[in-house]
Every structure is written in structure tokens, then in C-alpha cells.
């Protein structure tokens, strides 16, 4: 037993892709150090608040992409659906005079219909999803232009709560710290309750010391983020909502029957079917979930811009969302991943973009660097798959 053994076993788990978030977190840390070394203002509280707010739209879309990747599929129309949603909300509120909630509800229904169409086309007709959602991208973008009308752009009134929520609303220090305490206490309670139940069932359980370390790590992590962002504007409301969505999807994927079925279908749909999993239903719900998240992303985008225009949800947004999901560590091959990869991946993608803008680089540099990082992430994903198969 050498001192290196724990490290080796850690490396073995990383290599086959069991611990996906750890290497990504390291990459993000490294990226930040490099950017900060070139321009120290990158790590200023002001800029990090900007970064968190900028990552929300791509992050919510990436969360939908994470869902489809879990079943080994890819929805190329998430950007277009978000653009259509933004257009529907803006036009409905400004030209239609509808209440905002009604416009958002309508957009959600439209998103649900688009997702069901994909799900049914795939499960009933076995249409290749990538091409079918590419068709969806074109058709939905056309609808978006039609909804926006001849001006091609509709401004939301600044006093609308959506604009306020997305642009100027930050959690007060009191709210932030209350949330931190609630989350940490909740986390600790769930860990120790599980431990007690496992011991009662005579199952192996983690030591108290280990759980304590986990709780302290989460507390310190959340505390540092809230304290540091708090020296500036604080935690943005939409960023908090985004993290909440990620947490909710993570809970659904890991702790519910639906989530287990999603992973089973992504791993081996035929085996899942034989085990009694309603494979078609699971697939349809995944596509609906993805489109619904795309709509939410589009609504937030409209709020952040205080407008919807032809560029909202442009193909670049979709590309960045898919890149974020894969960079964040969700496998393209299905059945493996985590909701948190949407958060980590969106932060990586936005850090590159934000950092290069600070360095006065233009779009070309941003696209090249993001492309290289995505290529790296896909390569690592493929290598992990090979390592698993060889194991």
C-alpha cells in the first residue's frame, strides 16, 4: 500500500468516466487562473457577477440538451425554440396586450408541442432525431420570423417584471444567506438520515467524518460564492433560478423512477423495454422536457435583452448549449452524465467568451477557442468510453 494508491484509484475512476464533474471543475479553475493571469479584472466580483448572469440562457438550454444526451439523442432546435418563445412572449405582451404570464404559458405549450412532435416522430416512425430536429430548427426559425413580423424586432417595456427579473433583480444578502443555510442544513440532514437508514438495514455506510467533510465542503463552497459575489451586486435572481433548475433536474435524474428509466433507455433501450420500462413514454417526456427548458431559456433571453429579435436563439446559441453540455461532462453516447454538467459547461463556455472580450478579442477568437475546447471534451468522452469497454 503506497501513499499514491488513493490517487491511483481516483484516476482509475476518472479515466472510465465515473467521476465526470471533478475534471471539469479543475478545467474551469485552470481556465480562470489563466484568464486572471492575463487580466486580473476577470476574477473581480463585478465581472464574475456578469459571468454568472451571462451563463444563464446557454445554461438552461444546455440543461435540456443534457436530458436528450442522456437518451443518446441530440435536439438541434433548442436555440430556435428559445427564439420562437422569446418572439411569442414579446409579441403577445406588446402587440397582443396579453398579461405576461399568459404569454409565457402559451410559449411553454408551443414548446411542449414541438417536443412531443420530436418524441412521437422518433418513437413511432423511427426518424433520425438529429435530422428531424434540424428540420424543426428551420421550421421553428421560420415561425419565429413570422411572429416577429416585418420589423424583425419587438422591445419589451422596461417596467415589465420579466425585464426587471432578468436585468436588475439580485438576491438580497439576507435571502442569499438564508438560502445557503437552508441548503446546507437540508444537505446534511439528507446525508445523515440516509446513513442512519443504511446502518439500520445493515448496509455499509460512509463514516461520520467523511459526511462531515462533504457538508463542510458544500457549506464553504456556497459561502465563498455568496460572500464574494455579495461584495458586488450579489447573486442574480435568474442565476439562482438556473441553479435551482439544475438541482431539480439532478434530483429527477438521480432519485426518481423517471430518471432511472431515462438512464436505462440511454444505456440499452431494448434491455430497458424487456425490464418493463415504458421506453416510448420516457423518450417523449425527454424531448418535451428539453423543448420546455428551451422555452424557459428563450423567455429569460427576452428579459435580459428587453426585446426579442431575429437574432434571439440564433444557431450559435444552440451550438454553445450543446458544447456546454458536452464540455460539462455528459456523454454523447447516452446513459451517462449529470445535470450539473449544464452549469459547469455553461460557465466554461461563458468564461471563454467573457475572458476573450476582456482581452479585446473578437468573435473569431471566441469561436475558435470554444471549438477547440469542445473538440477536447468530445475526444475525452470517446476515450473514456474506450477505457470502459477495455475494462
Amino acid at each position: 500500500m503506497s501513499a499514491l494508491d488513493p490517487l491511483r484509484s481516483l484516476w482509475a475512476r476518472v479515466r472510465v468516466g465515473e467521476l465526470r464533474t471533478l475534471p471539469i471543475a479543475l478545467v474551469l479553475g485552470l481556465l480562470w487562473l489563466v484568464l486572471a493571469a492575463i487580466d486580473p479584472t476577470f476574477l473581480s466580483a463585478d465581472n464574475l457577477v456578469n459571468l454568472t448572469q451571462q451563463s444563464v440562457v446557454v445554461g438552461i438550454l444546455a440543461l435540456g440538451v443534457v436530458l436528450t444526451l442522456h437518451v443518446g439523442q441530440l435536439d438541434l432546435s433548442v436555440g430556435a425554440v428559445s427564439g420562437l418563445a422569446a418572439a411569442l412572449v414579446a409579441v403577445g405582451v406588446v402587440h397582443g396586450g396579453w398579461p405576461l404570464w399568459l404569454a409565457v404559458l402559451l410559449a411553454l405549450v408551443v414548446g411542449g408541442l414541438v417536443g412531443s412532435a420530436y418524441g412521437l416522430a422518433y418513437t413511432r416512425l423511427a426518424v433520425p432525431v438529429v435530422v428531424f430536429t434540424l428540420a424543426g430548427l428551420l421550421a421553428v426559425t421560420g415561425l419565429q420570423l413570422r411572429v416577429l413580423g416585418t420589423t424583425g424586432s419587438v422591445n419589451l417595456p422596461f417596467e415589465s417584471w420579466l425585464v426587471e427579473l432578468a436585468q436588475t433583480l439580485y438576491l438580497s444578502p439576507g435571502t442569499s444567506w438564508t438560502l445557503v443555510v437552508v441548503l446546507v442544513v437540508g444537505y446534511a440532514v439528507s446525508l445523515f438520515v440516509t446513513r442512519a437508514r443504511r446502518l439500520r438495514a445493515e448496509l455499509p455506510a460512509a463514516s461520520v467524518a467523511r459526511l462531515a467533510v462533504q457538508v463542510v465542503a458544500v457549506a464553504v463552497g456556497l459561502g465563498v460564492v455568496v460572500a464574494y459575489l455579495g461584495t458586488n451586486r450579489g447573486v442574480g435572481a435568474i442565476f439562482a433560478i438556473f441553479v435551482g433548475l439544475v438541482g431539480a433536474v439532478d434530483l429527477l435524474l438521480r432519485r426518481t423512477r423517471w430518471g432511472r428509466w431515462v438512464r436505462a433507455v440511454g444505456g440499452d433501450a431494448e434491455a430497458a423495454r424487456r425490464a418493463g420500462v415504458p421506453v416510448r413514454l420516457v423518450l417523449v417526456t425527454v424531448f418535451v422536457g428539453c423543448s420546455t427548458l428551451a422555452v424557459l431559456g428563450g423567455v429569460v433571453a427576452a428579459g435580459r435583452l428587453a426585446a426579442a429579435n431575429q437574432a434571439t436563439g440564433a444557431p450559435e446559441v444552440m451550438l454553445l448549449a450543446i458544447a456546454a453540455a458536452v464540455i460539462g461532462g455528459t456523454s454523447l453516447f447516452g446513459g451517462r452524465g449529470s445535470a450539473w454538467s449544464a452549469l459547469l459547461g455553461a460557465l466554461v463556455v461563458q468564461s471563454i467568451s467573457n475572458g476573450l472580450i476582456l482581452l479585446n478579442q473578437d468573435t473569431s477568437a471566441r469561436l475558435i477557442v470554444t471549438g477547440i475546447v469542445l473538440a477536447g471534451a468530445v475526444t475525452i468522452d470517446a476515450l473514456m468510453r474506450r477505457a470502459r469497454e477495455a475494462a
Binding site: 432511472r260 431494448e270 420500462v277
Partner: protein, 218 residues
């Protein structure tokens, strides 16, 4: 077919073994004939209907999701929940009990199935079929992908199934494997029954002749 009995179905490729398994487990509809359960004819229209009649099937391949761990596979489609969330503690506990009954050696119930050997996967698949407390377990070509030691491990497992009161139907190419464990051996040839033998008294030559169609038939 009754409890505590192991019936082996042997035959060459195309003899109808897989079709028989399909019919028994409800995956295929029979063209003719009837299935009697406790003396009464039954229709096994779907795998669920077959399970409801106490017949559980274990297929030679693709029975498990490789990316899921042992517990996740065992309870796939029949997960235990507690307040809407998965009850991992209960499932993990039952997983150990179930595998313990079969004396199956699995390093951990929390490793992905991809990391298990062929015999271990077979044990997990069989353990899963036992969840519904079936009267009869139908195994399709269970030894096809196993090595020598793994086959021995598997045959011991079949004996434990028998001693626990299950009826076992298994199909195989390998007369030797089957002789080691079967009480009754049914030989299929070109879609027809070509003899029924006592598992302990029949000789390899006798069985081989029935499988290939050379020489005597009973």
C-alpha cells in the same frame, strides 16, 4: 413440468428452442397447440401475462443495462419508492438478500454491470427474474457465452434454484452442460419433439443421436 424440476431443451440450430422459449415467456404467439397450467389451458399473450402466470424468462443477451449498477438493474421497472423518491436503502438491502439466496458472488451491488463477468451478469439477470416469485424460470442459452469455471458456477446456481422450489427450463446447444444438471431432457429437432430422456440415465450418445436425427428415437 413441476416445482423442483430442471427440464433441459436441447437441439441443433433451427430446432425451435428459441421459439419455444418465446412462446413460454409470452414474447411470441404460438401458431398451434396449447399451454396447460395446472391442467387448464392458458394464453400467454405478453411477457407480463406470462409473468402473471408465474413464468419468468431470462434471455441470453441484452437482459441488462450495462451503464446501470446491479441494484439499478435488479429493480429496473419495479423500483421501490419512498415519498416519491427512489428508496435506495430498501432496494440495496433486498439486492443483497436476493443475491445471497443464489449464493452469487458479486463484488459490490453498486458497480456498473459492465464491470461484471458473464456468470455474474447471468446471476444478476436470474436474480431479477426471481423478484416476482415465479414458479418457473425459463433460461434461454444461459451457458452460450460462459467459460468453463463460469459454467460450473452457473450450473450450481441452477441447482440452488431447483432446491428453492422453482421449476427451471433451460435451452442449450451443449449436451454435456445439460446432463450435469437436468432431471429431464427434451430433444427438439427441426421444430418437433424428437425424444424425451431421463436426465440421469440417458447417455451422451443417445442424446446426440436424437439431436442429429441419426439412429434410434423413442
Amino acid at each position: 413440468m413441476h416445482a423442483n424440476e430442471v427440464v433441459a431443451v436441447v437441439g441443433d440450430n433451427g430446432a425451435g428452442k428459441s421459439t419455444l422459449v418465446g412462446v413460454l415467456t409470452g414474447a411470441l404467439a404460438p401458431d398451434r397447440g396449447e399451454i396447460l397450467r395446472d391442467g387448464r389451458p392458458v394464453t400467454l399473450g405478453s411477457p407480463a401475462a406470462a409473468r402473471a402466470h408465474g413464468i419468468a424468462g431470462v434471455f441470453e443477451d441484452r437482459a441488462l443495462c450495462e451503464n446501470l449498477d446491479v441494484v439499478e438493474n435488479l429493480f429496473l421497472g419495479h423500483e421501490a419508492t419512498r415519498a416519491g423518491l427512489l428508496d435506495e436503502v430498501t432496494m440495496e438491502r433486498s439486492a443483497w438478500e436476493l443475491l445471497g439466496q443464489l449464493a452469487a458472488r458479486v463484488p459490490s451491488v453498486r458497480v456498473p454491470v459492465a464491470a461484471l463477468s458473464g456468470a455474474q451478469r447471468q446471476a444478476v439477470a436470474i436474480a431479477r427474474s426471481l423478484l416476482g416469485a415465479p414458479r418457473i424460470v425459463v433460461l434461454d442459452e444461459p451457458t452460450a457465452s460462459l467459460g468453463l469455471t463460469q459454467t460450473a458456477e452457473f450450473l450450481a446456481l441452477v441447482e440452488r434454484l431447483r432446491s428453492r422450489g422453482h421449476g427451471v427450463v433451460l435451452t442449450s446447444h451443449s449436451i454435456v452442460d445439460v446432463q450435469a444438471v437436468a432431471d429431464r431432457i427434451v430433444v427438439l429437432r427441426l421444430g418437433r419433439t424428437n425424444g424425451e430422456f431421463d436426465g440421469r440415465r440417458s447417455s451422451y450418445e443417445e442424446l446426440l443421436a436424437a439431436v442429429t436425427g441419426a439412429g434410434v428415437t423413442r
